[in-house]
Symmetry: C2
Subunit: 413 residues, 2 copies
């Protein structure tokens, strides 16, 4: 690593305006955690919150907690916090259900609003649950809808007058490429289509301004950059202008105009609550708030700046130190064109990642050949970049990844 | 209370084979909790479990927990435990999602399996989320399905040759009446229809034998008698013979034949996993296991016997001590014909329940005029029956419920 020393990176940490945030997260000693884009680290406050929900709210206050401790309105309270992170207004976001379910609701609404149009534009190499949910919905409706799969450079051209909905993930889960939300949304609207943005790999990772981009609908994940805990509830965004105009199909009682009237027949609420199904997992939902509260104190421009710099250094060091070992950059080289992750292609990516994990550098592998490193600027340090590459170099130089034990396939989400 | 003394009830507790279970639950001193049918009490083990999931599994093991700590298979592991409580086989039940969502999946499968038939039989006075989800699905499919609402004594006659699915809740949320699962399932099958049983108010409250009754599909709640915590994930049962025969529409990636292959197009798993959507709320799911583990050590016949006896005494005492104040029994008098709850109708039920809650007897109110008392035999004592009625009598005798503050409407689920 000729042009830098480890001390240079330590100095960058010293001058990092976000450095203090790391201490708000629980991270094992000596572990370099580059997988916050799969599961964000634990905010230390989560421990006390989980205990309080279990011991006091559930154990002592029992059923009265629905009012007394605000359980019933958690989904809206947290939704409003998320709204402030993604450029949405109060009353446009709820924290609820899971990403795929929220996508199903929105897609159904969008298809109702664009009756007659049959095409849904998606990116074929996207995280497939979005495809699967869409395929499930199409089959269920039986109205001849079809998905038009387009890869990144074909997307704009794929948005034609027959398109009902453009449903895309803002940051690609494998390559980290960042789509142009504003341009794509404009193109969609120009042909009369609606947009659904999946923010799973962007919410909390970079500045997002849904309303400035005139976005119709969005979904996103609570357990990646928002650090909400394993399987934390997701979120759903419905622009004010679309609320109450179409019905989502998963009409549980919390989406009813008067849930506690226990009426026989469904009446839609007409507000953002109409996007809800029913009772939410309160413990998981409560703990999600800890992640949001930390994130809300960080300056999003600082986060983005640090994220780009961390990734730039990582790319530079991997290429200079390990380039000869066959790593091919899968992520856009231009920081403005990617999310907060770096991916490389390597034929033996699976075994290499296993060896790295054994050496306490946690990233992940995505079939068939992607090694993926997420850089969560709230808690990843500059020196982690240096140390991670040093460990990778050791693994490659001494062929440590060839150890047979690193080829036992184990599933990681 | 002429025929008994409080001491008689203390003696019943002394001889109760289930008495020791109460100590496994956290219950505030002096509180009589008769609302376990809305939110079950907290098993003391839940505290350590929640802490361990947050601190160690999330905080220390991070993403590796999906394998190392079994997160990915929790839904199946807990499903198998629930299976043992409801007469299902291993591999027929998953703990996942919410009751309404699970109902939506099953109803869609059932309608696919009975294409051509257009009628769904339901109980109109049922907990309405089941109706709402069904109405949402019907609208979504747009194939002219309709709900035939029947009340309890009309159900059998409503099941005719044009019926696709009979979708009923085994124990009625308001009145506690218990439907004859075996007879209704037989009638449904005799006319070629399928059945979906909602076990929200029966799972963990009484013996259930789904396979002996030849049930096709079932759903149920994790946070009532199973004591899984607020908004705990629900469960879904698909009889082995139906697995892989029809597709549910909420096809998230966990229901894919190879979730980690990240294929572009959906392929159904063909097993009970096909009933899943996507990533589950791990913290809420983990804590649900605490409730299941307590329940699995109890003898279901003992539970049922105690439940009936508790309810019998409660009815007898309310009628003898408070009958003149206008309470009308809404629950079947015959213990074999009801679940584990007692409901009374009273024109001022709302205010009376508020006054009771202020006096530390927690039951709940269901519009328009039902006061509802749940008796969870794992932790409700015989002496609680005596004390609850004594407090109710005081409230009625001295018109304490007429205090204006008891008429401020507050929502309780």
């Amino acid at each position: 690593m000729p042009n830098y020393t480890r001390e240079d990176f330590l100095k960058l940490d010293e001058n990092d305006p976000l450095a203090a945030f790391r201490d708000e997260f629980e991270l094992p000693e000596d572990l370099i955690y580059l997988d916050g884009n799969s599961l964000g680290a634990m905010p230390k406050s989560a421990k006390a919150r989980a205990l309080d929900v279990v011991e006091r709210e559930w154990g002592q206050d029992l059923i009265t907690s629905w009012n007394k401790n605000g359980w019933f309105h958690l989904t809206e309270k947290l939704g409003n916090k998320i709204a402030s992170l993604i450029g949405a207004a109060s009353g446009e976001v709820l924290a609820c259900d899971a990403t795929g379910l929220n996508l199903y609701k929105l897609l159904s609404m969008a298809l109702d609003l664009r009756e007659g149009r049959k095409v849904i534009v998606m990116e074929g190499s996207n995280f497939p649950t979005d495809n699967y949910m869409t395929q499930g919905l199409i089959k269920q409706r039986g109205q001849g809808h079809e998905i038009r799969f387009a890869e990144i450079d074909q997307i704009i051209d794929a948005i034609t007058e027959d398109v009902a909905v453009v449903s895309l993930t803002q940051v690609h889960y494998k390559t980290g490429h960042l789509l142009d939300m504003k341009a794509i949304t404009e193109k969609a609207h120009a042909v009369g289509a609606l947009v659904i943005w999946d923010l799973c790999h962007s919410a909390g990772a970079l500045p997002i301004d849904l309303n400035k981009c005139d976005v119709d609908f969005a979904v996103g994940c609570g357990y990646k950059y928002l650090n909400g805990g394993p399987g934390a509830p997701a979120f759903i965004f419905v622009a004010k202008r679309h609320q109450g105009t179409a019905a989502q199909p998963l009409t549980g009682w919390w989406s009813h105009a008067a849930p506690f009237a226990f009426e026989r027949d469904y009446r839609p609420s007409g507000t953002i609550w109409q996007s809800l199904t029913g009772t939410q997992p309160i413990l998981s939902l409560s703990v999600l708030e800890c992640g949001l509260d930390v994130m809300m104190r960080a300056d999003m421009a600082d986060l983005r700046q640090k994220s780009i710099t961390l990734c730039d250094y990582f790319i530079e060091l991997v290429e200079s130190e390990c380039g000869k070992y066959g790593f091919e950059l899968a992520t856009p080289r231009n920081g403005e064109a990617r999310g907060s992750q770096v991916s490389f292609r390597h034929d033996y990516g699976y075994a290499i990642m296993q060896a790295l994990i054994a050496d306490k550098v946690i990233g992940d592998f995505r079939a068939p050949n992607i090694v993926r490193f997420g850089f969560t600027p709230l808690y990843v340090r500059y020196v982690d970049v240096w140390d991670a590459v040093a460990r990778l170099k050791k693994i490659m130089k001494y062929d440590l990844w060839k150890n047979a034990k690193y080829n036992q396939l184990t599933a990681v989400t």
